[in-house]
């Protein structure tokens, strides 16, 4: 026994296992976290069956089950232990005020899955669960009864969605362009006024041309508004009368309905199809209901745009610095200082970059640009406020060390013979660098770029100071001249998580959206990182042999 103990202590196998436990816990944490996000995020797209609960007191509840747990002590300290309760998404926020309800299992008398129960996804107020009673056209009855109503409703919903798209296009795109034209013309008039000597009103053909432009734009605007009114009347023509689980009636305009489903009647393939369309809609739609519903397309677009602009800034700078360190500088004190500086830059907290970006890019540079080039719109700032350009540049500054380090590693891996061969053949140093070394190091540079992109995609704190917003009315790229609007504010996946999860009034209803956004962000970041890691491993293998 004693010898066994001695042996164990000496070999330290206990400690080996102990250190293994440290790694195991860390790995479990990562795996657990990823699983948690994937399960929660993916689960949201699945349309569960509609359950109808009859409670012991005779009341009814209808909705989708959204969880089950042992009743915690804090909720009912005196209740007997070990009982469970279920969480039901009851929807109908306009009727009940709450989306979710906990029901103790003790109180449930019976539960059924009524086959003709309908789930309506609405533009406002969240889901509605109930039965169709009738469909009306204005005040007249269009269709009555659950099944007839259902069949009549489906084409109406499609029609309403088409109308909605049309209305949206007129409101957002066409009227938006007219407004932009008017604003542009007004600003030009303002600029004319500012160039005049004081006390004199501007005149001349330019002014007349601008004024007619405004007048014609305003006429167009009136035309569009009339068109819009007609569409809106059509949009709200039909309404559907719904009955909830307790027999309460509610009339809803069909225009409010995005989609009608009867989940209890649907087979697995139909549900999978709904699942796929759900995924697509989240990725491609605009947010609704203070970002808690709808899609996250503007956030995805904003993130991608920002990362792209950042890449354009970070690569030249990072590669130049790495070339200097590896190829040009004399290895001495200066290089040591630069290395320390690079490492420091990587360690500076991101919020400090945000503060710097706000003070330097937004107020100092942006403010100067405004006074020089956009004096006519002052005091409302053009570049002197947060925008996608400033946010991208701030992040470029933050991620440049990543590119430098990766590029340096790539340059170091290029075998010495390549350089010497090139130089011996009479190439200048520049030619050697451009034609021989950089092509060899290209994968490494790409690795650095991808890592920088991944870091930038996930960073939020500096963006909060330099131009991200919870809801941007327009994308940074659109059909209005000059197409790329670097001064515009933008939405971002990471900030979307913070905003929806922590700033929205109804956090419980917003949670699915937060999980989905998180899932998308994590997928982007993990994919980028995996690409970078694969690329780098490939690179290391390639040069491992040739470096001899």
């Amino acid at each position: 026994m004693r010898t066994w103990r001695k042996k164990t202590m000496a070999s330290g196998s206990l400690f080996v296992w102990g250190s293994g436990a440290g790694l195991a816990v860390a790995l479990l944490m990562v795996i657990g976290l990823l699983l948690l996000i994937v399960v929660n995020g993916m689960g949201f797209f699945w349309t569960g069956d509609i359950i109808e609960l009859t409670l012991a007191d005779g009341k009814h509840l209808m909705g989708q089950q959204a969880g089950r747990e042992t009743i915690p002590n804090s909720v009912a300290p005196d209740a007997p232990k070990g009982k469970s309760r279920v969480r039901v998404k009851i929807g109908n926020r306009d009727l009940y005020g709450l989306d979710f309800k906990w029901v103790d299992e003790d109180r449930i008398a019976s539960q059924t899955f009524p086959p003709n129960a309908v789930l309506l996804e609405r533009r406002e107020w969240g889901n509605f669960y109930g039965w169709i009673k009738a469909i009306r056209k204005g005040e007249t009855l269009h269709a009555a009864g659950s099944d007839i109503g259902w069949n009549a409703l489906l084409p109406l919903v499609d029609q309403a969605n088409d109308l909605h798209a049309g209305i949206n296009r007129i409101e957002r795109v066409e009227i938006g362009e007219i407004n932009a034209a008017i604003t542009r013309a007004q600003l030009k008039i303002r600029a004319l006024e500012m160039n005049q000597p004081p006390g004199q009103a501007p005149h001349g053909p330019t002014l007349d041309r601008l004024k007619t432009a405004i007048a014609s734009a305003e006429a167009q605007y009136r035309e569009k508004t009339e068109q819009l009114d007609k569409l809106n009347a059509q949009f709200n023509e039909y309404s559907v009368l719904m009955v909830d689980a307790n027999g309460r009636e509610k009339q809803l305009p069909v225009g409010q309905i995005i989609r009608a489903l009867r989940p209890n009647d649907m087979g697995i393939p139909a549900k999978i199809w709904v699942y796929i369309t759900n995924v697509w809609r989240v990725l491609a739609d605009e947010p609704r209901e203070a970002n808690t519903e709808g899609g996250i397309f503007p956030a995805i677009f904003g993130t991608v745009m920002m990362v792209l602009i950042m890449s354009m800034a970070v690569v030249p700078f990072g590669v130049l610095a790495a070339l200097y360190l590896r190829e040009y500088a004399k290895q001495g004190t200066v290089v040591r200082l630069v290395r320390i500086a690079v490492n420091n830059l990587a360690g500076v907290p991101s919020i400090v970059f945000g503060v710097f970006g706000l003070g330097f890019f937004v107020y100092a540079i942006g403010g100067t640009i405004d006074t020089l080039f956009f004096p006519e719109s002052l005091p409302s700032p053009t570049y002197g406020t947060g925008g996608i350009l400033w946010a991208s540049l701030t992040l470029a500054l933050m991620t440049v060390p990543v590119v430098i380090v990766a590029t340096e590693e790539g340059l170091a891996a290029v075998p010495r013979d390549f350089r010497e061969g090139s130089l011996a053949l009479g190439a200048t140093k520049l030619e050697t660098v451009v034609r021989v070394i950089l092509p060899c190091a290209l994968p490494a540079i790409l690795t650095g770029l991808i890592l920088a992109m991944a870091r930038a995609a996930g960073e939020v704190a500096p963006l909060m100071l330099t131009g991200v917003v919870k809801l941007a009315p327009t994308l940074p790229v659109d059909a209005t001249w000059p197409f790329f609007h670097f001064d515009r504010k933008f939405m971002h996946l990471g900030f979307h998580i913070y905003d929806v999860g922590f700033q929205s009034p109804n956090v419980e209803a917003a949670k699915p959206m937060v999980y989905i956004t998180t899932l998308v962000l994590i997928m982007v970041v993990v994919l980028l990182n995996l690409t970078a890691i694969t690329l780098r491993n490939h690179l290391r293998k390639k040069y491992a042999g040739s470096a001899v």
Binding site: T8, G12, S13, L14, F15, W17, S19, G20, A21, G22, L23, A24, L27, L28, V30, L33, I37, S74, P77, V315, P316, F317, L320, A321, L323, L325, A329, R336, V338, R339, A341, V342, G347, V348, P349, I351, V352, G354, V355, F356, F360, T428, K429, L430, V434, L442, L451, G458, V460, A461, M464, G494, Y498, F502, V514, T518, I522, V525, N529, L530
Partner: protein
Amino acid sequence: MAESAAETASVLAPARIDSRAWRQLLDRLAQVIISLGGYAVILSILGIFVFLVMEVAPLFFAPTGQRTGQFLAGPLLQSLPQATLVGVEEHQEVAYLLKAGDTGHVSFFSLPSGKPLETETPAALAGAPVTAVTRASGKGGRFGLGTADGRLISMDIEMAADFVKETRRIVPRIAVSLPIQIIPTKDKVVRLAYQRTDAGTAAAVLTESGRLWHSTVLPPSNPEAAPTVNPVELTAQITGTATALLLDGRGETLAVGTADGRLYYWDVRETGHPVLLENLAVSRSGAAVTTLAYLIGDRSLVIGTGSGEVSAWMPVRATKESNATRLLPIHQFGAHPAAVTGISPSQRDKGFVTGDAQGNVFVHYATSGQTLLRFPGDGIAIGSLMFAPKANGAVAMTDAGLIASYAIHNPHPEITFASLFQPVWYEGYEQPEHVWQSSGATDDFEAKFGLTPLLFGTIKGTLYAMLLAVPLAVLGAIYTSMFMHPDLRAKIKPTIEIMAALPTVVLGFLAGLWMAPLLERIFPAVLAMFVVLPLSAMLAALLWQLLPCTLRNGIRPGVEAFLLMPVLVGAAFLCLSFNASIESLLFGADYKNWLANTLGLRYDQRNALVVGFAMGFAIIPIIFSISEEALSNVPRNLIAGSLALGATPWQTLARLVFISASPGIFSALMIGFGRAVGETMIVLMATGNTPIMDWSLFNGFRTLSANIAVEIPEAPHGGTLYRTLFMAALLLFAITFLVNTGAEIIRQRLRKKYSQF
């Protein structure tokens, strides 16, 4: 990079045809550009630092000011103590002068020239024998005029800005009420304090015969009736002659200073029944109290004495529970060489100006207790003075009838190094404290810019994160570098890199919305896990030793961590399922009650424990990677030597590898520390962001970084808050700079050392 390569290539294209000189030139040019790029990296680091410093520096610039003009306003009546009153409107373009006498009570002058402005004096004022003039405290030009027959005249001066062709002209307008007999005798008023209140008018009067009165005037119930006047004589309640009278902005308290250096302090809220609250000596030298003033907000009372002392007093609650307050001297300011003759508070912050009998004018700031500026006088006493409404200037009038105007540039009066980092005695506090509270609901809010609670929060969050992260990361790194199967190692490192790449906003969201409520429910189980998980790992290790060799040899070595995973998951599950039992076993019934009753701690849902987990998660990969690198870089021949001499792998690790890699591991800890210090999103989302100073694991805190994120959207560009937040950023920069540079130096030294082998 692809673009730059292509670009250079196209530039190079003619080189094929062209001469060698062209290529040489390009080569040189590229050398210059690339070197510049390298220097740009250092410069950008330096640039960030310099820029932050430049934004912060104005906070600490000494205030500046000068006399901008001086003019003679005419002869004065010298015999009465409150015979003159000088003032200025917010643009400092027009000054006004109120004078005792029978005529010419109000006159206006344009500044700085001193040219008199023509204005109509209301008829009601003509011929009134005014003997004392005073200003009501607070914003708006409200004045009280006392007469030789014991009457009070209320006067309003409005300075309207009139725009004619975009040039501003200030047009003064005067409104005067009918005189009201404010004291029962027709005595001559020599000192007067006056205030307009919600109920009516309040006044304190000292007559020529030395009688002291407090009087309120209530408006009549119907328009025809006369207003109700309630005079109460206070002469008997004081000893010595009253030399200064002061009513607060709501007319609720009356302060009277006397010739023997005492202050009497009444509660006058109940009409007709003043209650004497305090009677205390306020002058150290026993000199007379010459002037009194409330600072904005009516909490701090500034007292000037005949020997030149200036002090600020505040009502301080004796204990936290009691409502009774005592006036305590909180700040002593730079003393005047002669008797203080006038005090004028700022209308936007806790600053004030004082003047003395030798003509000196000083500018002070109450929160920091500093005397900021001293304008030397020319020997003639200041009779009256006023701080300009925007606190950017002042006017003062000497007894010789000279009105001087001053410009004062002091945009950040409340900030000193001491007020940022040391406890400050703020209004309404029992003692000096570290407080961060940048904005309040009212205009007279005293901004509290103490960075110490935020530094404290930063350190607290970092510490709890390190407590979790360091053991896990270092143990994991040891295992990975020394004992793990090499094939597996190649798989583990990318996993950890992914862990490092997880956006912190995700960690913060999970910590705040998922973990915080969960932890509140399963806290006892989590507590148990800290003991059960290591024990179960040990137990698993022991059991493994007891397994027959044939079974053990079936599994290759270096996979212990993976064998442990199910064990750990099982143990954690066990803890969770016995959550309720653990709770009743350890804490009786409810752990929150137990915490509150036994330890006196309150459990907040978003607390330091949650942050510890989330931020620990964020820094584990950093510490892991750098420690792992340090451990793997220990020269292989040393390890091989140790093993060849018969040491077990564990002995090799403990006596050789760990010790020689310990500087590297230390630098890993430093870099992890640096990362945690600056982390923003996790603390922003997972704590309540309350700037309190408490080490408790169960409440929240606010860090420097989260504070910046929370407050900078509301900070106007160039303001004090804006610059203070830049100061916070600079602090973060400095901390991380020091820590990272230290770590980098250690690593470079270590690399050099290993390269010898």
